[in-house]
Structures are given as structure tokens and as C-alpha cells.
Symmetry: C2
Subunit: 516 residues, 2 copies
Amino acid sequence: MTDTPARPLRIVVHPDDNVAIIVNEGGLRAGTVFEDGLRLVEDIPEAHKVALTDLPRGSRVLRYGVPIGTTNADVPRGAWVHEGLLELPPAPQLHDVPFGGAILTKQDPLTGFTFEGFRNEDGTVGTRNILGISTTVQCVAATVDFAVKRIKAELLPKYPNVDDVIGITHIYGCGVAINAPDAQIPIRTLRNLSLNPNLGGAPMVVSLGCEKLQPALMLPASTLPILQSSPYVVRLQDEEHTSFSEMVAAIMDLAEKRLIELNKRQRVTCPASDLNVGMQCGGSDAFSGVTANPAVGFATDLLVRAGATVMFSEVTEVRDGIHLLTARAADEETARSLVREMQWYDDYLQKGGVDRSANPSPGNKKGGLNNIVEKAMGSIAKSGIGAIHGVSGHGERVTKKGLIFAATPASDFVCGTLQLAAGMNMHVFTTGRGTPYGLAMAPVIKVTSRTSLAKRWSDLIDINAGTIATGDQTIEQVGWEIFHMILAVASGRHQTCADRWGLHNEFALFNPAPIT
Amino acid sequence: MTDTPARPLRIVVHPDDNVAIIVNEGGLRAGTVFEDGLRLVEDIPEAHKVALTDLPRGSRVLRYGVPIGTTNADVPRGAWVHEGLLELPPAPQLHDVPFGGAILTKQDPLTGFTFEGFRNEDGTVGTRNILGISTTVQCVAATVDFAVKRIKAELLPKYPNVDDVIGITHIYGCGVAINAPDAQIPIRTLRNLSLNPNLGGAPMVVSLGCEKLQPALMLPASTLPILQSSPYVVRLQDEEHTSFSEMVAAIMDLAEKRLIELNKRQRVTCPASDLNVGMQCGGSDAFSGVTANPAVGFATDLLVRAGATVMFSEVTEVRDGIHLLTARAADEETARSLVREMQWYDDYLQKGGVDRSANPSPGNKKGGLNNIVEKAMGSIAKSGIGAIHGVSGHGERVTKKGLIFAATPASDFVCGTLQLAAGMNMHVFTTGRGTPYGLAMAPVIKVTSRTSLAKRWSDLIDINAGTIATGDQTIEQVGWEIFHMILAVASGRHQTCADRWGLHNEFALFNPAPIT
Ligand SMILES: [Ca+2]
Ligand SMILES: [Ca+2]
Ligand SMILES: [Ca+2]
Ligand SMILES: [Ca+2]
Ligand SMILES: [Ca+2]
């Protein structure tokens, strides 16, 4: 807490709200008086909530114009509205959700924005030119790691137009219930990861031989032209590999064939509509929903107006706002699909003996987010204000343009991995508490909700949205900044902090089916 | 299939068996006649089963002296008994299992065998002297990878008595239902991994700050003396880390403090009873149960006689033989615990919509293993013939001596990771089809069931048990060979193939609880 009384600042999101967020770094002391006369009756930490009116026991606490809970004690005006005072409301029902009522007049198209990308035969566009080495099974992971190290050291330097070589390793493929109802999720995730636009349609697969996830099950020949026309599998158990060195040599040989093809590619000018941008938040605080996420939401609207695909995700973080999302569904099928994904996740959590309240972390709570409703309202802000054009299930490939709800858990790398499978070629990640997040398969722009983090982690944070809280920038200004940085990074003109350090977290596969 | 008729060979495991395994490489042709007059009525692949008597529809097919299924058609003597002809019997009941009836007279103690190990303060002994860097959450994994690379390049060469530096990274810690009933499994697994004897009681932890799995939840100060006496956590979100470079520097500083301590350690002579050996099979074939696994079982008996801890695992691969195991339980509590672990797994599989028949892989079946019963009987052979002295739940630390059933899935790296958490300081892994398996935290001796694989993968396979099938070696001889190699590898005198190549697969955490 600061002892020198700075000018007290607070943020209210919606005119109906009866709480506001304290903006001042270090929080504010009891006795602080705002210009309008509001006096704090106790110390309130930064990013936490102050009561704007008396909230007698049983009052609905409104933030983002929606009830985030009910007071379980009398809370006077000027008091700290903390987790212990709020009762979690029940989750919105999944039947009779509103449909289409909140769709705004169609926003004007945004034309003339382009980026320099790698055009693929299947119509997608890469922002990077990467050789991806897929694996069918965890047993080959260490061998592929070994080969990738040698490929990067010995081959990659000869092919300067190729950005990177990635082993798509994971802990799936055998020792799993491959015919379980939910096994389709990890299987299609691995398939669609191999088809990510940044891999240029040149997949190759390393298989063991005896695994459950056989190459043809993971990547049927119909999925990409190259799978019919060229050999694409190295199978370690094949008789021809009579030593470990020969296995590695076979992987390197096939990799070099692919590198030669990838190296012929050049960036060409592409419309912004060729982008597929995945939006995500992680390590959120109470500012996330008023600074970083609305700024990302503004960029989402710009991208959608420019014809791009924009995905938002994180089922447990939209569950409490599902009625707000179905109201934005462009058609009834989209609304029904939204409900289907919520229901699937409700069931999934229930089988594990928990519910949506399992989502918020200690850091979220320390950061002022009292419960999943408050967190969800802030998380949804990333989706902007436009119509929702479609829904994809976990790990499904997205081919539609516009705003898409791509179902994923909120868990950061699981979400990122599923968005990559959905076809993401650019990623935007917002954080309040701070996380050194990075992915190998697509560039990640990190946006922080707080100026203090932007300063402290200046070599990890790409964009500071904390300036919105202090009134130094508007949501629109930061939104345009994000939009322009997406185009610059997509074109290879600007390097993200994560790429500068080579911070590339492993793939995190979502497998809700049993292992055996 | 070979065209030149070699001397036909077959193996029968138990006098009651009405099928035998074809031993000849490449299988045998229809018309082949064995010395005792048995004539094959069709081609039979290597490692697959031949009917020794007529098996009319509805006959029980006996292998290992137990029914592995019932024929669903008339099968004549000399025919190929393949998967399509066998109906899976129901799993043994979990109530009224026999208890203690099969315990043999106590075998003689085996004295005088020692190895050179690193003695730890908590009484355990390491076979390696490794710095392990634990992580509480997936968000720090890429940062720790970055730091470990630098530690290995810049610091490790200065501390020649330290064998390696391992980042214990994983995809758990946040975005998970940390209070779910089953969350105790991944949490205690991560805790006990940090306490593995090969890490010398010198753990350090990298934490983000806002994650659900807080350092004190993962590693309470009571778990190791060092956690009370020395700082052991680097928390990336702490105010003092004002850049990524400073985070990495802080990790490297703490790592060097630990390296200095670890470097003072020297190998000392320890009795074989200080070993904790984990036995596992993966990529099994029909030979596994008659060559590699019984040889490992013989080594298990030797180790137990020498006072060591020996773990066998893989719940779905013992489920069908549970009545044989409870009969070997040293006391009633052990029998009850065995049943408890089977019941937990039955329920776990059922929630996912599958059952134990989901275990066998295409490679198992191609290798002659028709179903889970046949696979289980071969898998159990690794446990030898002695009494079972205890049971540990998934990820629990084993402190008892003797033969222990450590519950794990059969999935190879999940099992290996859980056995490491249980305290394994040496690993023995048998394979028929072949897998380039390796772990960073403990040496892995790979034993193959087939001479053909031993020849083809001579730089990946440490011991060939295929000689048992051809009569060139006995189970006892190979068992002693395994036993002696365990002592040599544990002492650092002999290097395994996996260590020679640095083949170290990632940790594969078992998390049966939901992610959020
Ligand atoms: Ca989030
Ligand atoms: Ca997230
Ligand atoms: Ca096995
Ligand atoms: Ca296994
Ligand atoms: Ca790795």
C-alpha cells in the first residue's frame, strides 16, 4: 500500500455496476476520498473491488452489468468486496437460451490491410515456414528429439527460407483407450496439428510400428495431397532400420526432402482475411477484463471486419456468460453448438467430481477475481462485440471465416495446442499476473493488463494495455496497436518476445479418454 | 515365412496348456511336422499359437495353465489359434479373491551382492547423482528448459561428480481441478518425483507465483530437511525478477548452490538391498511371457532374496490374473490393497466408456497376443514367484522392502514416471516388438524377448532373452545376467544403450482428474 495519497483511480465497466476496480498501484488506504466523495472504509488492494453503494446482505453485486454474486453480509459503501463476501450464483441454464437477440448491425468491412505470408496449396496461409515432424506415439519422442537436434544443427542452415523444425511430440498414441468415445479428441488434434498452415502442407510422420494410433488413422491419405504422392512415414520397427543410427538417418533423409520443398517458398502479399488468430488469456487479474481483454476484443472486431478468422475459446470461462454468447449467435445452429459444447464440459467436469468453480487460481483471486463469473465476464471480452459465426469442437479444424468459438479447456497450453489444431497461424495471449508463454508453431503476441508488469517484464511482454486503466490510452488505441502488430509479426517483420528468447512450450494434448 | 524347412520349434509354458507358441523366425508353413508328429494344417506366424489338440467350438484355450478364452468355432489340432477364434472370458471377480494360498516356502536370502551408490540422508541410495529442477506448473516449462540448457553448458562441466541436470517439466499445476478427488495422484507424483533417490535430496523448485499447485502444496517443508534450511524456490512473478534474463540468472544461481553440494558426493559400497528396481514391459509379443518376462521374474526373485525393493505395475495387465496375485499376498492388507487398486481402475475405465479389453495394441496382436488375458499372464511373469509384500497407490512413495505392486497404467512412460515417483533407482524394461525407451532420472536396461530384435537393434537392446526360446540359454541364466547388469549399471560401471544415446523421454504425468 502506498502511504503518499496519489490521485485515487477506479474503473467502472457498465453503468449498472455497483462495484468498481481500484486502479492505483499498491492499492488504496482506508480513508481515501475520491473526487466524487466516495470514501474507502478500509484498505483495498490494487485490482480489487470497492462497493459504490451500500450492499445489504443478499444484494446482487453487479460488474460488467451482470450479477457476479450475492452478498452474504451487509457491505457498506466504500468497503472491499472480496471473495469471502460473495455467494456464487448458479450457472446459467442450458435450455431456452436466448438466440440472436444481441447481434449488432453488421459492422463495416475493413479493407486494404495485408500481410506477407506463405500461401499453401490447400488455400490456407502460413505466417511461418516450418517443417513439422509428426509422431504417432510417445515411444518415438526421444528418438525424434534426437533427430530434430541434428536436423537443426546439420540441415536447417542449408535451407535459409525455412524458419524452424518442430518435433510434434506428445504422450498419446499407445497405452490409451483408442476406441473410447472421447478418443476422437486427441486423435483429431494430432491430425489437425500436422495440417497447421505454418507447416506448409509438408508433413512427415515418425511411427514406431506396433502403436494403436497408426499413421493412416492419424493422417489418412485423403487429408493432404502429399500423403498420396510421396512417402511420408518413417516406421522405426521396419526391418530396414538395423540400428538406432539408421533410424535417425532415415528421419533425416525424409526431413531433407521436405526441407528442399519448403525452402522454395517465398512470402507473398496476402489479405488480412487469410489470418486465423487465436485469442486466449492466462494468469488473469481484475484488470484483464477492463484493459487487455477489451483491447483484444477491439482487435477481434477489426480482424473480423477485415474478413479474418478469429477464435476465442476456454469453455469454463464462457460458461457463466453462455446466454450472452447465444444471443450473439449468427444462426440457430451456432447457438445450439455453443450449448452442446457447454453441456459436454459440464458432463466432463461432473464425471471428475468437480464443477466450473474449479477454474479460478490463487493468482486470479489475489488479482481481484473473486469467482468464475467475474473471471468469465472478463474473459469473454476478448471476443469483441460482433456476431458469432461458428463453433468448433475440441481439436476440430476451423475453415469458416469470422468469429468462431473454438471449444478448449482454459488451461493455457492445452488451449493453445487445440487452437493450433484448429488452424491458428497467429496467437494473442493476455495476462495480468504474468506468464512467460510461448509456442513453437505460431507466433504469440503477449498483451498485459497492467503497466507494472509491462515495466517489470519488458523483455517478455509485447504490448501494454495497462495504459487503459490510467486513462493514458483508449481501448481503441490499444486495439489498433494489437491489430497492427499482428500484421507485422505475421509478415515476419517484427519478432515477438517469446520468439526472441525461443520460449516454446511443449504441446499439451487434451485427452479426456482413459489411458490403459 | 521361410521356405527352407528349418527344425520346427514350439514352446509350451504349462503342462495343462492346449496351445503352444511357434518359435521359428518367420513362422512355419502348413504341412510342417514336429518331431512328436504334430502337423500344421495352415501357415502360422512366428510367436503365434498352434492348437495341440482338437478344440471344438466352446473349448477353453489354456496358456500359462489358465483359460485365455473360449473357441468360437471348431479348431483342429495343428491349426492357428488366432484372435478371431477366441472369446474373451469375463474378468475375475473382485470379491472373495483367494488370499495367501500360493505363497511358496520363503526363499533363501542372497547375501554378498553390492553396488557402488550415492547414499542419501533419508536412507535411500542413488545410482546416479543428478540435479533435478522441479516445476510447480506448466507455465514455467519453457523457461526452465532454457535455463537447463545453459546450466548444462556453463555450470555442469565445473562439477564433474554430478551426472546430469533435469528439468522436471509437465503439463500440470494450473488450469486443473486441483481439489478434484483424483487430483492427489498428479500432486503426489510430482512431489515424490522430486524426492527420487537419484536426485540426492537436493531439490529446487521453479514456480510461477499465481498457479494452483503452490510450492508448499507440492513439496511441504516437512518432506526433506533441505526445504526447511535453505531457500529452494525461484518464483518468476516475484518483484525482484525485473526481466527474463534475471529470472534465468536466479534459476542458475540456485542451481549452482545445489551443484556445489551434489559435487561433494562420492559413490560408496552399498548392499543390493538398497536397490529399488521397477520392472515394466512395453511393445510385448507372445514371446515376452515365455522369455524376457520370466527371466526378469527370475531377477526379481534374486533381488527380493537380496533384500531389495522390486516393483511391478501395469494394472490393466494384471487385472485378469488378480486371483493369482492375491493368492501370493504376504498378508491380508496386501490382498485387500490389490483389490482396491483393481476396483479403482475398473471404475476409471468405466467412466471413460471402456474396459480392460482396450489395452492390447495392434502390435501386441500382430505379435501373437490375442487378448488382454493372454497379455496379462505374460506381463505378470515379471513379478517372479515370491510373496507380494505391499501395494502402493498411483504415485505413492514405496519405503518397504520386498516385492511391491506399484499401481500404474500400463502406458509405458506413464508407468515409468509413476515408478520414478515411487522411488525407483533402476529400471528394467522388456520389449518384444521393440521400443527405443529411455528415462532421464534412472538408468533403463532393455531386455528383448526375441533374438531377431536383439540383432536388428543391437545398439538399443541391452540383453537378449530370445535365446531362451531357442534353448540356447535358460531362464535362470538370463535372469542372473539381468541381475548382474543391474548391479553394474547401478554402480556406473556399465552404460545402458539408452544412456549412450541420451534417449530420455519426457515425464508423462497421470492425471485422471479434469482440467479446467
Ligand atoms: Ca483464461
Ligand atoms: Ca487460458
Ligand atoms: Ca506392459
Ligand atoms: Ca508398459
Ligand atoms: Ca521437451
